[in-house]
């Protein structure tokens, strides 16, 4: 990626020209002086909840939230009701998206029928319908043999399997990370080893089958080290990390984000994989910086208010993350832990490369002439306070309510259309 000052002209939804100075030919013009123009962000891990769970989110609200977060492409996870395990459900998603979505939606098909982890879904038909990967996300593929068959079978269509890595026995009944914080709160903790043994299994199976496995939301130092070693050996493994695992620790569960020492048992910080220790956060940032982790993915998991306004053990897992992703990740840039260029890469060419999405959408993740005009305008220094009530997402579940972030999405252009413009004048 090369950095320079330039004008971009868009015609017919595509990039027409990029040059130091272009004449505006009477059409709409955005003055983006002082802002960074980057390719529109790509999220490999979005829960749109549609069909079936529209009270949490739907394709319209979820993609509007994506636009506000700077995302012009999102990959829809299949844990809907019914699951996206057949052509008809995927076609529904694509049809709804064509008429109501604000940004591009690429479907991810289920690995197993009903995501039950027993029989393979019709992966061939799902691939033919437009699925870009397969995943039983929300649940791990428990059975190692099913995972092996899924990798072998999916490999035949050239598509990766995305796994939520968690050993169910080690994570049994866990609601947060296992650490001094879980001891303090009397909550059951999931040991990092539960993620690490699952990652190790998937790496071994990827190596054995030669098929690409993509590790969803890595969160522990041990998992990242295993991925690093596997990549060095040439295993076809890629990985993503969420904005929250790049910044927040398990202390947010006890005390909240940027807060004091009063216990609050914040259900909005309950997420799976759980927020981990500072050492794990440091490893996530270092792993992203050195390329071990390919990209950032939000794991946007919207829930209704009642699903979080309850006892901690009973609360749903997940953070509504699309609209805070950039601002939260920018904490690492402002702290000097991550170069801005690498952050943008991890939100654009990173995810595109991880799932090779350019096979499905040529030019995606770039501002090249002829590519779809998916562009985001960023103000890396704008400060704003997170107000969930103003989210476009139906999910107001974020531990960041009231927290100040530095770094904002000023405008989002998807396919040449302005799908988001910051209400706050920038500049």
């Amino acid at each position: 990626m090369s950095d320079r000052i330039a004008d971009v002209s868009i015609e017919g939804g595509r990039v027409a020209a990029v040059a130091p100075r272009l004449e505006a030919r009477g059409s709409a013009e955005i003055d983006a002086r002082g802002l960074i123009a980057a390719p529109g962000f790509v999220d490999l891990h979005t829960h749109l909840r549609d069909p079936g769970l529209e009270y949490k989110e739907d394709i319209e609200s979820g993609t509007r939230a994506a636009a506000r977060g700077g995302f012009t492409t999102i990959c829809a996870m299949p844990n809907t009701e019914p699951a996206m395990d057949t052509r008809s459900v995927v076609e529904y998603v694509l049809r709804e998206a064509a008429s109501r979505a604000h940004v591009r939606v690429l479907p991810i098909g289920a690995v197993s029928k009903g995501r039950a982890g027993c029989e393979l879904a019709e992966l061939g038909d799902l691939a033919a319908t437009g699925c870009v990967a397969f995943s039983d996300d929300g649940a791990p593929v428990r059975d190692a043999t099913l995972m092996r068959r899924a990798l072998e079978y999916a490999g035949g269509f050239g598509l990766p399997v995305i796994d939520h890595c968690e050993d169910p026995a080690l994570a049994q009944d866990a609601v947060m990370n296992e650490s001094w914080v879980s001891t303090r709160l009397g909550l059951r903790g999931a040991p990092p080893a539960g993620e690490e043994t699952a990652v190790a299994r998937d790496i071994a199976l990827a190596e054995a089958t030669g098929t690409h496995v993509h590790i969803a939301h890595v969160s522990t130092r041990g998992a990242i080290e295993a991925i690093r070693r596997a990549k060095e050996r040439g295993v076809r493994v890629t990985a993503e990390v969420t904005p929250h695992h790049l910044v927040l620790t398990d202390e947010a569960v006890a005390f909240g984000v940027d807060a004091g020492h009063e216990l609050i048992f914040d259900t909005n910080a309950k997420v799976n994989p759980p927020l981990r220790s500072q050492d794990d956060v440091d490893a996530c940032v270092a792993g992203l910086a050195d390329g071990t982790i390919d990209c950032i993915a939000t794991d946007h998991a919207p829930h209704a208010e009642v699903e979080k306004l309850c006892e901690f053990d009973d609360a749903a897992f997940g953070i509504s993350g699309l609209e805070t992703a950039f601002g939260l990740c920018m904490r690492n840039v402002h702290a000097g832990r991550l170069p801005l260029a690498r952050l943008i890469e991890a939100l654009t060419t990173g995810p595109v490369g991880a799932l090779r999405l350019d096979r499905h959408v040529p030019g995606i993740g770039t501002i090249a002439v002829g590519a779809h005009a998916d562009i985001v305008l960023l103000d890396p220094d704008a400060e704003w306070v997170v107000e969930p009530a103003r989210f476009a997402s139906k999910g107001k579940n974020t531990p960041l309510a009231g927290v100040t972030l530095r770094g904002a999405v000023a405008a989002t252009i998807a396919g040449g259309r302005i799908v988001h413009r910051s209400e706050v004048p920038v500049g």
Binding site: E178, T183, L187, C310, F312
Partner: protein, 350 residues
């Protein structure tokens, strides 16, 4: 039907309640959720108030009108005999109206949510909500959404502050100042809210706390994390070593389902390695105390002989429980329902 004779004496005949002045340590709490942020002064104030309450309990007519007109609701989502009875009696001795509510189920999945229940009880007129819940943190949720005071009577694996306070009262009555005293907590600390609260209060007062348990029942990072994250305790897996020179030995209930959960191989080996018995007590200081929060599995975590022996304070713990809960209800209702105020200098009588 006959109606029994009325109480021959009236409240007006009872001597006043001589409570300690709160001015010196500025009690400003509306809720009692845990002891993790209690200062030594606050703990001392609760104990001194409890001493006054013990005097009331020793009277021929143990009644004072200190909480007359106040309503205490006990809301228990989990079974309890001693804690509930103890709170109920504490409220009644102080002249409060006490309503007992049993509840079950959790929010979302079935029926009314916890917040709705709390707000309903508040609308009925509860001034204090004494709450036991099987979910850690539930009283914190209630306190955030209530105008009334919330007292935690045990939440999940998290905290049981009034049990820790009554343990503290029992220990202090026997050994005086706990500073520098060695207190050994034995058994299933992982699943014990009693142990968690005790560790906070005892270490805040400068006691040397030793935890002895199989490694599978020691909570993650306890005794190994940075100062301030968790209270400073020493872990000693070998009970025979841990008990050496102990001033107090606190045995915890070992639940049978833990055996099935493969935390330990079984009752036989567990009691061999971790039972508080006479032979082991011989290694402690002479006259060392034995405490147990109850209910006891005699023959498992504690021998019958020790449970009922001279060193046992198990019965006194129960008696002290009423005094401690009276003290807590009294202190809480002075600030309850109102924003924290500068402490009044008036202690005195009522």
């Amino acid at each position: 039907m006959t109606i029994g004779p009325l109480e021959p004496r009236t409240l007006a005949d009872t001597p006043p309640l001589a409570v300690p002045a709160t001015g010196e340590s500025s009690w400003s709490r509306r809720h009692l959720l845990d002891l993790d942020d209690f200062s030594a002064d606050e703990l001392d104030l609760v104990l001194r108030t409890a001493d006054t309450m013990k005097e009331v309990l020793s009277r021929e007519v143990p009644r004072v009108p200190a909480l007359r007109g106040k309503t205490v609701v006990t809301l228990f989502y989990e079974n309890s005999t001693r804690t509930r009875a103890s709170f109920e009696l504490a409220g009644k001795v102080l002249g409060a109206d006490v309503i007992n509510v049993s509840a079950s189920g959790s929010s979302v999945t079935k029926g009314e949510s916890l917040i709705d229940t709390v707000q309903t009880l508040q609308a009925i007129g509860a001034d204090v909500l004494v709450m036991r819940h099987h979910r850690s943190g539930a009283p914190y949720l209630a306190a955030r959404h209530a105008h009334c005071s919330v007292v935690n009577a045990g939440d999940g694996l998290h905290a049981h502050p009034t049990q820790a306070l009554l343990d503290l009262l029992t220990i202090r009555n026997a050994v005086g100042d706990v500073r520098g005293k060695r207190i050994v907590i034995v058994g299933d600390v992982l699943h014990s809210r009693v142990a968690r609260s005790n560790i906070w209060s005892l270490t805040a007062l400068g006691a040397e706390v030793v935890v002895s348990a199989p490694p599978t029942l020691v909570p993650k990072d306890l005794g190994r994390t940075a100062e301030g994250n968790l209270p400073p305790v020493r872990i000693e897996i070998d009970l025979d070593r841990a008990i050496e020179g102990a001033d107090v030995v606190m045995a915890l209930r070992m639940q049978h389902e833990r055996m099935q959960g493969a935390f330990v191989p079984g009752t036989r080996e567990y009691s061999k390695l971790y039972q508080v018995n006479a032979e082991r007590m011989a290694r402690a200081r002479p006259a060392a105390l034995v405490l147990h929060p109850g209910p006891m599995n005699e023959g498992v975590e504690i021998s019958h002989e020790v449970a009922h022996g001279l060193q046992s304070r198990v019965e006194e713990q129960v008696t002290n429980g009423v005094a401690i809960r009276m003290a807590v209800l009294w202190l809480i209702t002075r600030t309850g329902g109102r924003p924290p105020q500068p402490a009044s200098t008036a202690g005195g009588s009522l």
